[in-house]
Amino acid sequence: MADYLNSYLFIGAILFTLGAFGVIVRRNIIVVLLSVELMLQGVNLSLGAFSTFYHDMGGYMLVLLSLAIAAAEAVVGLAILVALSRHVDEFYVDRLKSLRW
C-alpha cells in the first residue's frame, strides 16, 4: 500500500476535505485559519506523492513554494486579526459583519 500513489492521494483528499469542512462550519476566526492550513497539508501531501511517483522534482518545488505561501498567508491573516482586535472584541466570523452590507 505504501508503494501505490492512490493511498497518499486518498489521505491528502481526506485532509483537504476536513480543512474545507472546518472553513465552512467553524465560527472562531483562528480555527478557520487553522483549517486553511489543514487544507494546505492535504495539498502538500498530494504534490509530494505525485513528485515521488513520477520521478520529477516539480512537485517538491511546489511544496516548497506552498510552504512559503502558507507562511505569508498565516502572517498576514494573523496581523489582520491583531489589527482587528484593537477595534472590536469579537472573534466569531458571523458577528464581524460591518463590511457585509
Binding site: I11, T17, A20, N28, Y54, A79, V82
Partner: protein, 211 residues
C-alpha cells in the same frame, strides 16, 4: 511493514485532522494540527522525501503554528467559552458539501494508477541517491528550471513581512491618517539635504560663471 506504517500514519493524520476541525478550544485545535503536521512529515519520510519532512516540521510546527499560539495568547480568546463553536445553519451546508467533496476527491484519487514507465521523469530514486539525496535533487531543480519561482517566493515573503509590520503596528492616532505624515517626514528628511546640495551647487556654479 511500510504498508502498516502508511495505514497508521494516514489513520492518525485523519483522526487529528478531525480533532483540528471539531475540538472546541482553538489551542487544542492548534496542537492537533501540530500532530497532523508530524504525521504528514512521517508520510513524506515513507515516500523517501526526508528533506521535505524536515522542512515541514521546521516551518509548520516550528514557525506557523507557534505564531498561531502566540496570537491566541495575545488575544485572550477564553471569554466566549460557553457559546456554540459551529455555525447554526452553515452546519447543514457543511456536511453535504464536505461529503460531496470527499467523494469526488476520493474518486479522483483512487482512479490514479501508478504512472507508466514512459511518463517517468529523470529524477529516479537511483539518480537521486547518485546526487546525494532529495535535498540535492531539489537544489538541482531549484537553481536551474525553477529559479524564477524561487526568487518570486522570496519577494512574496518580503512583501508579507512588510504587510504584517504595517498592519500590526500601533499607529499614533490609531487610524490611517498617521501613515502619510510618517511617509512625508521620512521623504522630507531624505530629500531636503539633496535639494540644498543641488541649490548650493547651482550657486557655486553661477559664482564660477561670474568669475
Amino acid at each position: 511493514m511500510s504498508d502498516l506504517a502508511c495505514t497508521w500514519l494516514g489513520l492518525m493524520a485523519t483522526i487529528f485532522g478531525l480533532g483540528t476541525v471539531l475540538l472546541r478550544s482553538p489551542v487544542h485545535s492548534a496542537l492537533s494540527l501540530v500532530m497532523v503536521v508530524f504525521h504528514v512529515a512521517g508520510l513524506f519520510v515513507l515516500m523517501g522525501a526526508g528533506f521535505l519532512a524536515a522542512l515541514q516540521v521546521i516551518v509548520y510546527a516550528g514557525a506557523i503554528i507557534v505564531l498561531f499560539l502566540f496570537t491566541m495568547m495575545l488575544l485572550n480568546l477564553e471569554q466566549h467559552d460557553n457559546e456554540p463553536h459551529m455555525h447554526r445553519y452553515q452546519k447543514w451546508l457543511g456536511f453535504p458539501l464536505g461529503g460531496a467533496l470527499l467523494i469526488e476527491a476520493t474518486w479522483i484519487a483512487l482512479a490514479q494508477a501508478n504512472p507508466p514507465e514512459t511518463l517517468l521523469g529523470k529524477y529516479s530514486p537511483e539518480r537521486l541517491s547518485e546526487l546525494g539525496g532529495t535535498a540535492f535533487g531539489i537544489a538541482d531543480a531549484m537553481f536551474t528550471s525553477y529559479l524564477l519561482p524561487f526568487e518570486v517566493a522570496g519577494v512574496l515573503l518580503l512583501a508579507a513581512s512588510v504587510a504584517a509590520l504595517s498592519l500590526a503596528r500601533k499607529s499614533d492616532e490609531d487610524n490611517f491618517g498617521a501613515m502619510p505624515d510618517m511617509v512625508s517626514d521620512a521623504a522630507g528628511s531624505m530629500i531636503q539635504p539633496s535639494v540644498q546640495d543641488s541649490k548650493s551647487g547651482q550657486l557655486s556654479q553661477e559664482h564660477g560663471d561670474d568669475h
